[in-house]
Amino acid sequence: MSIGPLPTTLSPAGARPLPVEGAGGPAVEAVGLRKAFGVIQAVDGIDLALAPGRIYGLLGPNGAGKTTLIRLLAGLARPTAGEARLLGTRMPDRRNLGRLGYMPQSEALYPDLSVGENIGFFATLQGARGEGAIDRALALVELGERRGAPVLELSGGMRRRLSLAISIVHEPPVLFLDEPTVGVDPALRVQFWTHFRKLADAGTTILVASHVMDEADRCDELLFIRSGKVLARGSGTELRATAGTDNLETAFLRFSGLDDQGRPVQPSGAAPAADTTGGPG
C-alpha cells in the first residue's frame, strides 16, 4: 500500500519552534542543531522547544540520532552547527549541569562500588542535598534494601534502576533519559512512568529516548526521528490520526516513507514528509 505524501501541517519538522506557553520560555531548545561525524550527519538540522512540565518521547530506530541529540542538548558534545539551549543558556555550559539529570544508555556505574556509594558519589557531584534525597531516589527504584550491595552483584534491571535513581537524585528541572526502561520488568516500568508523570506535574521537563513504541503513549508529545531529522511531532493520537493508522509503529514507518513492512514506498515521486523541510539550510 502506498500512502502518498503525509500532510506536514501537524508536524512541520524543521520549522521554527512553536512558542511555548508559560512565563519561563522553553526548558530545552534546539535551533538548527547539526552534528556530523565525518560524512555522517548524526543530527541533521533539528529545531526543538520543550516546554517545562511535559514529557517528550524521542522515538526512532537504532542509529536515528537520538543519543547524539540528547548528548548535544546535555552539552556532552559540541554541535557542528546551530545551538542547543538548556534553561535559556547555550550549551555546553558547565554551570547549567547541576540542573540537568542525565541517564546514559550505557550502564555508567562503578561495578566495584556499592549501590549507596555509587549514588552518593554522583549525588555529591550533582549537588544533591542530604541523605534524604538519596533515600527517596533509592526507595523509588526499590533498591533501598540493596544499599550495601556491590553493583557487580546486581542484575541488569537493578543496574538500570540504580542508573535512573542517580539521574534524578538531585531533583533536576530537566531530565534526559536514554532508553530508561530497557531490562526493567513491566510492573516497575509502570511505577517509573507514574513517577515520571509526578515529576512532570511538579514542573520537570523530561525527554525520553526509546525505540519501544508501547511506552510512547505515556508521553505528552512524541518526536519521530530518523537519519538525524525530526520526521513528525505531536501526541500519539495526533500522529496516528495523521498517518491514518491506529498503530504507532505503522505511523512511524509511514512518516519515514516506508510501507507497513518497512520497505521503501514505490515509486510515485511522493517525497516523505521530512524531505519537504530538509533542504540546504
Binding site: R95, P104, S106, E107, Y110, L113, F121, F122, T124
Partner: protein, 392 residues
C-alpha cells in the same frame, strides 16, 4: 575548583580499592615480591665452585705450576678445584660436557721461554656461551695465579714481596653489593610502573563504562576529576612507597617461633641520606605516573591495550634511565631521550640521596625534584586536556 567534588572523586577511588583487593595487592605486594626476589638473588648467591682443568705440555716445570695451583686452591678453600687433563682435546670435551668450567694449557715451550727470557703464553679455554659466569671463573683463575708466584719460589729462597692492595670508597663501603646500589633505583621504577598500570586501567574503565560521560554531565570540571584521581591514587601510591621504602631500608629479625626458624624481613640496604627525601622522590614519581596513566588511557580502547603501553612507556625508562648503564655513556640520541624521561631524574636523585647522602641543599637533588614536579604537573594538564577530546 571545588574541594568537595575533588574529595568525592578521591573517595570514589578509595572505595573502589576497598572492594578490589586484588588491585590493592598488586599495588602493595607485587613490588615487595619483586624487590625481595632481587634481594635474595643478589645477596645469597652461591659461591660458585669452579673446576679448572690443566693441560700440562711442559713436563716437570709445568708439574710445579700445577702443584702450586693446587696448593693455592686448597689454601683458598673457596670451592675452586684444580684437576689435570691428558690433552687439550680431552679438556675441550670436559668443557663441552660441563664437567669443567675452564681449561688452562701450559705450552711445551715453557722451559725454553723461561730460559730465553721470553714471556710464556698460557692459553685459557672456556665454553663461551655465558660471558658473565665465565668472567667469574676467569677471575678466580687469576686469583690463583697470583698465589702461584709465592708457591713457585724454591725452598730456602726469600719470598718475593708482593704489595697488598687495600680498597677504599668515597661513598658506601668497599663491601657494598649490587643490591645496595640497585635498590634505590628500583624503588623509583616500581613506584612508577604499578601506579601507571592501575590508573591507566582505572581511567580507561571510566571512559569505556560510560561513567566519565555521566561525570561530564554533572558540574564537575576536568581539572577536578584529574586532581581527584591524582589524590585518590597517590594516597595508595604513598602506602606502596612507604611499605617498599621500609622493606628496602629496614630490617626486622624474627626470632624462632615453634617450628618456624628465625628469619629476617627487610633488605637492610644502607641509606646515607634521609629516608624522607627518598620517600618524597618516589612519591613525585608516583604522582607523575597517575597522570600519565590518565593521559595514556585516551589512546587505549581496552585494558589489554593499556598493557601494550608497557614496552613503549616502561621498558625504555628501565633501559635508558640510568639503572643499568650510566646515562652519560649512552649514544647521543639515546642520551637526549633519557633526559626527557622522569625515571632518569628519579634515579639520579635517589642515588644522590641514598648512596651519597645528599640532602635538599644539593643542587643536583633540587634540579631533579623540580624536573619531577614539573613532569607531574605537565601530565596533570595533559590528562585534563584529554578528557573531553574523545567526546565527539
Amino acid at each position: 575548583m571545588s574541594g568537595r567534588r575533588v574529595l568525592a572523586v578521591a573517595r570514589r577511588i578509595a572505595e573502589g580499592f576497598r572492594r578490589d583487593r586484588r588491585s590493592l595487592a598488586l599495588l602493595i605486594l607485587a613490588p615487595l615480591v619483586v624487590v625481595a626476589l632481587l634481594g635474595w638473588v643478589l645477596r645469597d648467591q652461591k659461591q660458585g665452585s669452579v673446576e679448572i682443568l690443566i693441560v700440562n705440555d711442559a713436563g716437570p716445570l709445568g708439574d710445579r705450576i700445577v702443584a702450586a695451583l693446587q696448593a693455592g686452591a686448597s689454601e683458598a678453600n673457596d670451592g675452586t678445584t684444580v684437576g689435570a687433563a691428558a690433552s687439550k682435546d680431552a679438556a675441550v670435551d670436559s668443557l663441552r660436557s660441563g664437567q669443567a668450567d675452564l681449561a688452562l694449557v701450559i705450552p711445551s715451550s715453557l722451559q725454553a721461554d723461561v730460559t730465553s727470557g721470553t714471556s710464556p703464553v698460557l692459553t685459557v679455554i672456556t665454553e663461551g656461551t655465558d660471558p658473565a659466569a665465565e668472567s667469574g671463573a676467569f677471575a678466580s683463575l687469576q686469583g690463583l695465579l697470583r698465589t702461584v708466584a709465592a708457591n713457585l719460589v724454591p725452598a730456602g729462597a726469600g719470598a718475593p714481596v708482593v704489595p697488598t692492595v687495600q680498597r677504599e670508597t668515597v661513598y658506601l663501603s668497599p663491601d657494598a653489593d649490587q643490591l645496595d646500589v640497585l635498590a634505590p633505583v628500583f624503588l623509583g621504577l616500581f613506584a612508577y610502573f604499578f601506579v601507571f598500570i592501575l590508573t591507566g586501567i582505572s581511567f580507561l574503565r571510566e571512559r569505556v563504562g560510560g561513567t566519565l560521560e555521566r561525570l561530564l554531565a554533572t558540574p564537575v570540571t576536568r581539572a577536578e576529576i584529574v586532581v581527584g584521581y591524582a589524590i585518590g591514587f597517590s594516597a595508595f601510591a604513598t602506602i606502596q612507597v612507604i611499605v617498599l621504602t621500609a622493606y628496602i631500608l629496614g630490617r626486622l629479625d624474627v626470632p624462632t617461633i615453634g617450628p618456624i626458624g628465625a628469619f629476617t624481613i627487610g633488605l637492610n640496604v644502607p641509606s646515607a641520606g634521609s629516608p624522607a627525601i627518598t620517600f618524597f622522590v618516589a612519591f613525585l614519581m608516583a604522582v607523575g605516573a597517575v597522570n600519565l596513566g590518565i593521559f595514556l588511557s585516551t589512546f587505549a580502547r581496552t585494558e589489554f591495550q593499556i598493557l601494550q603501553f608497557i614496552p613503549i612507556v616502561i621498558v625504555p625508562q628501565g633501559l635508558l634511565g640510568g639503572i643499568f648503564w650510566p646515562v652519560d655513556r649512552l649514544p647521543d640520541i639515546l642520551q637526549a631521550i633519557a633526559h626527557v624521561l622522569p625515571v632518569t631524574y628519579a634515579v639520579e636523585a635517589l642515588r644522590e640521596v641514598m648512596l651519597k647522602g645528599s640532602d635538599l641543599g644539593s643542587p643536583v637533588v633540587q634540579t631533579d625534584l623540580l624536573v619531577l614536579g614539573g613532569i607531574a604537573i605537565l601530565f596533570v594538564v595533559l590528562g585534563a586536556l584529554t578528557i573531553k577530546r574523545e567526546v565527539a
